[in-house]
């Protein structure tokens, strides 16, 4: 059993009382809490050396630029990128995915082409492709899920025909917790000549990530789910992809020259960072990466697996609970969706909230998946480094309370 007891004290919000009870935060998949180590770095940036980056010929601007670019280096190392110029800072995973969908898709897709997604995608990895499909005439294809809530990769050889120009899929479902075999899917898609992208918004905070081992072409993530601040995220791109992609936004800092009639672009990654970037947020993300690396992503993964295993066990004490997700702990991460009898998830969440327990109820921005599960919504709990078995025990007690109120046996 990994000892994470020292971690909790780093997260000030966990001292909150909710309706008179200590906070049990089980909604980190929506957004994680932040350790003081991240908050202090950001606050200090503003208080001691803040200035715009890449612009000034003065000390503060140099210091800010160095801190910003160092953060890029930290993120690059964290995901094992070949070089820091492969990392583009974005507002979040959503922007990163839109950046590729538009920046690559608009010029490389046309009627007759197909875009492959999966039934498990977050809307962030569905809607941008729908928008681009509409503008280009390309079609969408969805890889289905099997009975064990895993991607049905047996269907891949069948579905992967030469019209599939891009395959973009999740590294870990934010609903079922499923972790598909990324490298394997990427290899099959690549062999078919498709561009391959992985949405690691969830995976990145639950397991070590190695983009070189993935052998994908792009990877998207958000800072706020990995102990970093809001307003920042990243796109990792294979250098050849970043070279050929059009910029998603135009503006300052991303140009080499601007003439009245047209402009030329700065080298990557700056080509994709139009305007003033989320400077302090990037620095905060760098601090979050430092924090996670200090714990060690292998330990984080182990801790998540242990907690998930414990939670699945305890949930099985309640016969009315039906879990939507793989039972195999090696094929899933610390996100569990379930139904409790036919109590609506929203009612479950409200009652748990009265007990100080924060869980999420809804479609979790994954309507196609929720629909495939055959329910209007699910209750979701999700774990981070600061969660403990006590949190799980509180959850179970809270669910018993729900059963009482709604008279579920």
């Amino acid at each position: 059993m990994t000892d994470f007891s020292h971690v909790r004290q780093d997260f000030p919000v966990l001292k909150r009382q909710i309706h008179g009870r200590p906070l049990v935060f089980l909604d980190s998949a929506a957004s994680s809490q932040k350790p003081t180590q991240v908050l202090d770095v950001m606050d200090a940036a503003y208080r001691t050396y803040y200035a715009n980056v890449h612009r000034g010929a003065y000390l503060l601007s140099e210091e800010s630029t160095t801190a910003y670019e160092d953060a890029r280096g930290k993120v690059a190392r964290f995901i094992n990128a070949g070089s820091r110029s492969e990392v583009v800072f974005t507002r979040g995973a959503t922007t990163a995915l839109n950046m590729v969908a538009f920046g690559w898709g608009m010029d490389h897709l046309s009627a007759g082409d197909k875009i492959m997604l999966t039934m498990m995608e977050h809307h962030a990895n569905v809607v941008p492709w729908q928008l681009v499909a509409r503008r280009t005439g390309a079609e969408l294809v969805y890889l289905p899920m099997d009975a064990d809530y895993q991607l049905d990769i047996n269907r891949l050889p069948d579905l992967l025909d030469e019209r599939i120009k891009v395959v973009s899929f999740t590294g870990m479902s934010n609903v079922t917790g499923t972790m598909p075999p990324v490298a394997e899917i990427a290899r099959m898609a690549r062999d078919q000549g498709a561009l391959v992208g992985v949405d690691v918004a969830q995976l990145i905070t639950h397991a070590p990530i190695d983009v070189q081992q993935f052998q994908a072409d792009f990877v998207a993530f958000s800072g706020h789910k990995m102990l970093g601040p809001t307003g920042i995220g990243g796109l990792w791109g294979r250098p050849s992809l970043l070279e050929e992609m059009e910029p998603f936004e135009g503006g300052g800092e991303m140009i080499s020259d601007v003439q009245l009639e047209g402009s030329t672009w700065a080298p990557v990654p700056h080509k994709f960072e139009a305007g003033t970037p989320p400077i302090v947020e990037a620095i905060g993300l760098g601090a979050a990466v430092d924090y996670l690396e200090k714990i060690g992503m292998d330990s984080v993964r182990r801790h998540g697996q242990e907690l998930t295993g414990y939670a699945l066990n305890r949930l099985s004490e309640l016969p009315a609970v039906r879990v939507f997700g793989p039972a195999d702990l090696t094929a899933r991460g610390g996100v569990i969706s379930f139904a409790l009898g036919n109590v609506h998830p929203h009612d479950v969440a409200t009652i748990l909230d009265q007990e100080g327990i924060a869980v999420r109820a809804g479609h979790h921005c994954a309507k196609p998946l929720t629909r495939a599960l055959g329910v209007p919504a699910t209750v979701r709990v999700s774990f981070q480094v600061y969660n403990t078995r006590d949190d799980v025990d509180a959850l179970i007690a809270g669910l018993r309370r729900v059963q009482e109120v709604f008279r579920v046996d």
Binding site: H344, H346, T350, A361, T370, F406
Partner: protein
């Protein structure tokens, strides 16, 4: 504040046994409402005889608050004239207005049910502001149906 203030027996009963479920053939007014946040969905059919609502049929899915609110709403408007219904809507809205005091909302704390009947059980929702949208869904959908004959709302 206890959770039982929200989940009163009347609400749980309407949730378990929703009244006036179903659809009408060729309804005189129809609207669909949904609450994208929680996924609550509602479809409302009305039959009118002159300015009187003679039949109400509701289909949908959602939390106990949205579903019981719809069920109670259907009881409260069935058989009433459009003018009477406007009054019920106004009273219900006032009850859900967390700015207003219960008495200003036209409710009589000493005679529960006097004005809105079963619906007054939804008073507890005022203490759970995020759930007010759930309680309101049936009513915004009703207003839409009355306004447009046929319509769609999002709350």
């Amino acid at each position: 504040m206890s959770i039982e203030e929200l989940y009163r027996d009347v609400i749980l009963d309407h949730n378990r046994n929703p009244r006036n479920r179903g659809t009408l053939d060729h309804p005189d007014a129809h609207a669909e409402g949904n609450n994208p946040l929680c996924g609550d969905e509602l479809s409302l059919d009305l039959r009118l005889d002159g300015d009187r609502v003679t039949e109400v049929a509701i289909q949908g899915q959602g939390c106990s608050i949205s579903q019981s609110s719809a069920s109670m709403m259907s009881q409260a408007i069935k058989g009433k004239t459009l003018e009477e219904i406007e009054a019920v809507i106004a009273t219900f809205k006032a009850m859900m207005d967390i700015q207003a005091s219960p008495s200003r909302a036209g409710l009589d704390p000493d005679r529960p049910g006097a004005v809105l009947g079963d619906l007054e059980a939804l008073q507890g929702v005022r203490k759970f502001p995020v759930r007010i949208k759930c309680a309101n869904l049936a009513w915004t959908t009703l207003e839409e149906a009355l306004r447009s004959g046929k319509g769609k709302v999002e709350s």
